[in-house]
């Protein structure tokens, strides 16, 4: 590769880039005006809500914009403008001097090709390595991205690897030809927190090892805070602010950035008063709208004045390479965003009689049934999805349930709601037994428990208007008639921040956040006593997530509803919960009042989860507890502790041979930790670690 760049020229320089896609539905202005630069040995983070054009910028740098596209401005890589080079020259850059890592590793690997050859192919294309040399180099690459047994991994098919391993494989592929620029498009999104932490560690490690510029595109401010040197914040196809990472987080000079930061729930380790999440109202300026001579953020901005809608703000330099596209950049601070209104929270009684109790709940999938020898599927041992779970939900309070995927959270929720039939155990609602399935339950019991699902798009009927979803529970459970029900439905929509006019819209005409609010309104309509929310905010952008979380809290205060709130995001769980239940491999690892669970002593698994969550604060000291691997699928009962296989604090044989005892935490009698390490010792070890001391885990048995 010959390069004619001078030493101080940027590696990648994007100037006034605009990208418009022409689709049958009209022009989509994905990128309107983006200018940015990346140097070698620098990580540039690009953040923003979905629909702001982050990924399009990444793909434009690869010269990959499928369909009918109009491109403006220039993209210069090592002095060469890649917006007008030949396909052959583009091919020499792709995979060679520019490597790319994608959001969804599972779908980004060819499913019918072994992983090794997929990497070898890149080497064979761009270097003169022989087949044998390429194979050896691939093994080296796999080793360098932390894949143990690289030759063995190379012979596997993608579906035989975990999500984390697949992403490592893709990173190895991107690194194969020693790229000068590495573009990572949401590299950790969709991975478990624990996996996300290990991948992020790898990316940071690469920064020091490979002499390349890295572009890290993500919606996760925590990831950027940990990983990036400089940050570009994108809104509606514009870079609205860019600068060094500390400056951006500590001293944002654009109200959008300030808003994004205040939308994220405080890091879980954060001590002190509960805060209220700020909201950015509304949703992203649509890419289908024309570019106007105005600030496109004005409609959502608390500082907007007549000037903002009259002309577009210029880029101003706030010093030190810190650029902002705001007229009032000097006045921006974190208080520009008013907190959502909250009524004073009533004191919650930690000893109130629970509304829902679950005792000894088991759920096994694939329990063998009677079947004809030759026909039905061959059913092996059942998968033990939920094993002996106890929990209690208090009236007007929230029980948060956390754990990695595969830990049994959703199975638990579905058993409570009655979508699936439990294998054994008791579930009681207000002291009365609940049948295993909804069909076994009394009408009153059915309306008392409602569920909110992760994906509002697939849980609302796309062919029926919003009014249908809202009026059905009103008619069915509250006996309201047509006009009354409609009136009440309109009121419900207003309560969740939508317009009565939305009643006649189809779900497809609403944004994801609006759909989830409709789903919530439908849930509230049933006047449920208990709402089970399964990852209800996971698919939403931080700004919308904050809106929905505040809505849930507000409804709880007004209606006294109890929640079971399931999430893999500890920050979110911390924000809404009174009690927390930590699950691992179908077992309860720890449960108790929120602050007792989040403070030492914690179960080693809770500790690992806490340490994995990236904080949206560049000064946060990263704690290095990492869980390799994934949650096992269990077909056999554990002989010892359920967590022994991955536990960073494993003390010895006792963990493999004896199930851990239930220990009471020191602060609250309802705080239970299932671990062999005595609670006082756990506390000591965890305090030592958070004080930065290295520790040796031992047990005096």
């Amino acid at each position: 590769m010959t390069t004619t760049q001078t030493n101080n020229a940027p590696l990648m320089e994007v100037e006034n880039l605009s990208v418009t896609f022409f689709t049958p539905a009209g022009a989509v202005r994905a990128v309107r005006d983006v200018s940015l630069q990346v140097q070698r040995n620098e990580v540039l983070g690009i953040v923003g809500e979905s629909g702001c054009g982050k990924s399009t910028v990444g793909y434009a740098m690869m010269g990959y914009l499928p369909g009918t596209t109009r491109l403006g401005g220039s993209i210069r890589f090592e002095g060469q403008d890649i917006t007008n080079i030949s396909a052959t020259e583009l091919r020499k850059l792709r995979g060679n001097t520019i490597g790319m890592v994608y959001q969804d590793p599972t779908t980004s690997l060819n499913p019918v090709m072994r992983v090794g050859p997929q990497v070898e192919e890149v080497l064979r294309q761009h270097t003169r390595l022989s087949r044998e040399q390429a194979r050896n180099r691939t093994a080296e690459l796999f080793e360098s991205v932390g894949l143990a047994g690289p030759r063995r991994i190379g012979r596997r098919y993608p579906h035989e690897l975990s999500g984390g391993q697949q992403q490592r494989g893709l990173i190895a592929m991107a690194l194969a030809c020693d790229p000068h620029l590495l573009i990572m498009d949401e590299p950790t999104t969709g991975l478990d927190v624990t996996t996300e932490a290990t991948i992020l560690d790898l990316i940071l490690d690469l920064k020091d090892r490979v002499n390349a510029g890295i572009i890290l595109i993500t919606h996760n401010l925590g990831v950027v805070a940990r990983g990036a040197d400089r940050v570009a914040v994108m809104y509606a196809g514009h870079v609205v602010e860019q600068g060094p990472v500390r400056t951006i987080f500590k001293n944002p000079r654009h109200p959008y950035t300030a808003g994004l930061i205040s939308c994220v729930p405080q890091p879980v380790t954060h001590e002190g008063e509960d805060h209220v999440l700020r909201n950015i109202p509304g949703s992203v300026y649509s890419a289908q709208e024309e570019t106007k001579d105005a600030c496109l953020f004005a409609s959502r901005c608390p500082m907007a004045t007549a000037q903002c809608t009259a002309s577009a703000p210029p880029v101003v330099d706030a010093g030190d390479g810190h650029l902002s596209k705001c007229f009032y950049w000097e006045q921006v601070n974190s208080d520009v965003w008013s907190a959502a209104e909250t009524t004073q929270s009533q004191a919650k009684d930690p000893n109130a009689a629970p509304i829902l109790t679950v005792k000894g709940l088991h759920h096994f999938y694939g329990t063998p049934r009677r079947r004809f020898v030759f026909f039905g599927p061959i059913v092996g041992r059942p998968v033990r999805a939920v094993v002996n779970v106890d929990l209690a939900v208090k009236p007007g309070q929230t029980l948060g349930v956390v754990g990695e995927s595969g830990s049994g959270k959703t199975t638990l929720a579905r058993n409570v709601v009655g979508l699936i039939h439990r294998t054994s155990g008791d579930i009681k609602l207000q002291g009365e037994d609940l049948g295993p399935g909804v069909e076994d339950r009394a009408k009153g019991q059915r309306s008392a428990i409602r569920m909110v699902f992760q994906n509002p798009t697939s849980s609302l009927n796309p062919k029926l208007p919003v009014s249908h979803a809202l009026m059905r529970p009103l008619k069915k459970f509250q006996g309201l008639k047509g006009p009354e029900a409609r009136e009440r439905a309109a009121a419900l929509l207003q309560a969740v921040g939508l317009e009565p006019g939305h009643l006649d819209r189809l779900p497809g005409e609403l944004s994801g956040g609006q759909q989830q609010r409709v789903a919530l309104a439908a849930t509230f309509a049933g006047k449920a006593d208990l709402i089970v929310a399964d990852e209800a905010v996971s698919a939403l952008d931080v700004s919308v997530q904050a809106q929905v979380l505040n809505l849930l809290k507000q409804h709880q205060q007004e209606a006294g509803t109890s929640y079971i709130f399931i999430s893999h995001d500890l920050g979110v769980v911390r924000y809404v919960s009174d009690d927390i239940l930590v699950m691992y491999a179908g077992h309860v690892a720890e449960s108790g009042p929120r602050n007792s669970v989040l403070r030492p002593p914690s179960h080693p698994y809770t500790e690992a989860l806490l340490s994995a969550a990236p904080a949206p604060d560049p000064d946060a000291v990263p704690t290095r507890i990492r869980l390799p691997g994934t949650v096992p699928t269990l077909r056999q009962a554990f002989t010892g502790c359920f967590f022994a296989g991955r536990c960073p604090r494993k003390v010895g044989d006792i963990c493999d041979t004896t199930p851990p005892p239930a220990q009471q935490g020191p602060d609250a009698p309802s705080h239970v930790i299932y671990c062999h390490i005595p609670a006082e010792q756990l506390k000591e070890l965890q305090l030592q670690r958070s004080n930065g001391k290295q520790d040796e885990v031992s047990i005096s048995a």
Binding site: R94, G95, P111, V112, E121, H159, F375
Partner: protein
């Protein structure tokens, strides 16, 4: 794998039992009397009774079914009423002829269909794609007896390039005069080709939009390699099941095509046996067709699992 085979083969046996029962019941209610067909209009009642007894038709239906199926399981399909010789001998040559025709059509249709489908999928919305797509729609919509006659009119009656009838002299095989295969095979090909082509095209388009093809393109691979290593192996997997499903269609097509071209295959045999009320022959042929369909599906599933690493048969 062994377990899968045992399961699938037992399933085929059960399927064939059910099919045989259905065939038997249908032939039971078929109008017409075999004895009067054999003896003609002027037969006396006592002669008719004698023939019936000779053929075992006086026995109760369940008993006849059981002995038929028991013999068939041992490879004895009984004797033809009309031709008065073992059905196995009649069917053998005819089945061979049909397999030659079907195999010939299959070999013409499937590779062409895949080639056209892949090309149309890659050049989506181009003129060529549109011509191919419309052509295939026409081919699907036309029944075999129309395409057959059309081809006959064009290539045999008008151009005189090919024979219009595919009759075989006794003692010869179709391979002695391969030109007689072309028109029936072309007729048979139409629907199969169009179907497989359309499915291949749809799969190629879907796979072209997948993330792993994007990965392959952004590796800097030449388009040729992207298509052969990444698009085709994935796009052709579902084609296998489509092909297998269409084998059934093709077997149905055989019956029509063989009659249009007077080709001495199993399809024509089926029709003559119906016309002659030759019940044992009819039953045997129908059972044979069902068995061919079941076996071809099994073969498709096997090849699918061999080509798709995500599926492990158990």
């Amino acid at each position: 794998m062994v377990r899968f085979l045992v399961r699938r083969i037992s399933l085929i046996v059960v399927t064939l039992l059910v099919v045989s029962l259905a065939i038997f019941l249908v032939t039971e209610v078929l109008p017409g009397d075999v004895a009067s067909m054999i003896l003609g209009q002027g037969a006396t009642p006592s002669n008719l009774a004698a023939v019936r007894e000779q053929l075992g038709l006086d026995r109760p239906a369940p008993a006849r079914y059981l002995s038929w199926i028991a013999n068939a399981a041992q490879g004895d399909l009984g004797d033809s009423y009309v031709q008065r010789r073992p059905i196995v001998d009649i069917v053998k040559g005819r089945l061979g002829n049909s397999l030659i025709l079907a195999g010939f059509a299959f070999l013409m249709a499937v590779p062409t269909a895949i080639l056209l489908g892949v090309w149309a999928g890659i050049k989506r919305d181009s003129l060529g794609d549109q011509v191919i797509s419309i052509g295939s729609l026409v081919a699907i919509s036309l029944p075999e007896f129309v395409t057959g006659v059309l081809l006959m009119v064009v290539f045999a009656s008008t151009l005189h390039w090919l024979p219009s009838s595919s009759v075989l002299l006794p003692g010869t095989t179709p391979l002695d005069r391969p030109q007689i295969l072309i028109l029936p095979a072309l007729t048979l090909t139409g629907v199969l080709l169009a179907y497989v082509m359309r499915m291949t095209r749809a799969n190629v388009i879907e796979v072209m939009q997948s993330h792993y093809v994007r990965t392959a393109i952004l590796k800097g691979l030449p388009m040729r390699r992207v298509i052969f290593r990444h698009v085709l192996p994935n796009a052709l997997l579902p084609t296998i099941s489509i092909v297998a499903m269409n084998v059934g269609w093709m077997l149905g097509g055989l019956i029509i095509v063989e009659n249009v071209f007077s080709y001495p295959g199993i399809g024509r045999l089926l029709l003559t046996s119906i016309q002659g009320r030759d019940v044992p022959l009819l039953q045997a042929v129908a059972l044979l067709i069902a068995a061919t369909y079941a076996v071809s599906n099994l073969l498709a599933d096997l090849s699918y699992s061999i080509l798709n690493p995500r599926i492990r048969l158990s």
